[in-house]
Amino acid sequence: MELHIILLFMIFGAIVAVETKDLISSVIALSAVGLGLSLAFLILKAPNLAITQLVVEILCVIILIRGTINKDLPLVRDGRWLFNTIATFLFIVCFLMFAFFALKELPNFGEPLMRVSQGYIADGLAKSGVANLVTAITLNFRGYDALAEAAVLFAGIIGVLTVTRKTGKNHER
């Protein structure tokens, strides 16, 4: 029940974030959505994800406010509104149709299959020798996942630094 209230709150916040014209208000509404997601993780008993979500949300809000505090957004409101509306409706209908067929195959909400994770929960602690089950899964059973994830994160960091560097090829000319 609380989960559904939080989901409705998040949908409302997302709509406000998209539709409002002031950029700062949009960023604040987006942070409200992130806070709702963190609460939802807490209700679903995943404190690990809740902590990470909260911290990432704070970081994103700081960067977004820092980036948008002096700018305003030029909105383009004329032009092909008929084509845009028809295309949007077509895409929504397509998405809903595929989602209807795909979601029928999923297990019910709140009743996961637990085919693989049953084994982790049963004897994960004894096999891995780690005190925390989440750490045992992320850094041992799915170690290759963590390895590639760290590599991707480092590649992303280097990519951002490369894009925003001061000296480049144009500088030497």
């Binding site: 911290v55 820092r66 850094l139 760290a150 480092f154 960091i157 630094l161 925003t164 560097r165 001061k166």
Partner: protein, 134 residues
């Protein structure tokens, strides 16, 4: 402009002086305690990066850039990922003793994430400020 007038107001600076160490130590605690409790390398590293970002926002970029500039934090990040690669491959290939290296993996991830996120933040801030000065 005088040096003590840069950054935010005196209230923010005093609060930051008190809170910086607490937030930093809390991040280290989250990293080291990820072995037993919720938390771990990624979240703790982000908290450490946030403490430095708070210092940067409150005091201006001068005092922070003297300690930790983009190149230095990129080196720290690279050291972190090298430690992570070595220890993680030891954990994955070996067994028994190698499992005790899992806390080291957490610390390496925290080093990489905190230094890298701080470098990204510095790069974004510096590029936007350079555009405004032009």
């Amino acid at each position: 402009m005088k040096d003590n007038q840069k950054g935010m107001t005196l209230i923010v600076k005093t609060t930051t002086r008190i809170l910086f160490g607490l937030i930093f130590v809390y991040g280290v605690f989250i990293v080291l305690d990820g072995h037993h409790a919720p938390g771990g390398g990624f979240a703790g590293g982000l908290i450490i990066a946030l403490s430095f970002i708070q210092l940067l926002l409150a005091f201006g970029r001068g005092p922070v850039l003297e300690k930790l500039n983009i190149n230095r934090s990129l080196y720290l990040s690279a050291i972190g990922i090298i430690i992570f690669l070595v220890s993680m491959s030891l954990v994955l290939l070996g067994s028994g003793f190698a499992l005790r290296l899992i806390p080291l993996c957490d610390i390496a991830v925290a080093l990489m994430v905190s230094a890298g996120i701080f470098a990204i933040f510095l790069a974004l801030i510096l590029s936007s400020e350079l555009k405004e000065e032009k």
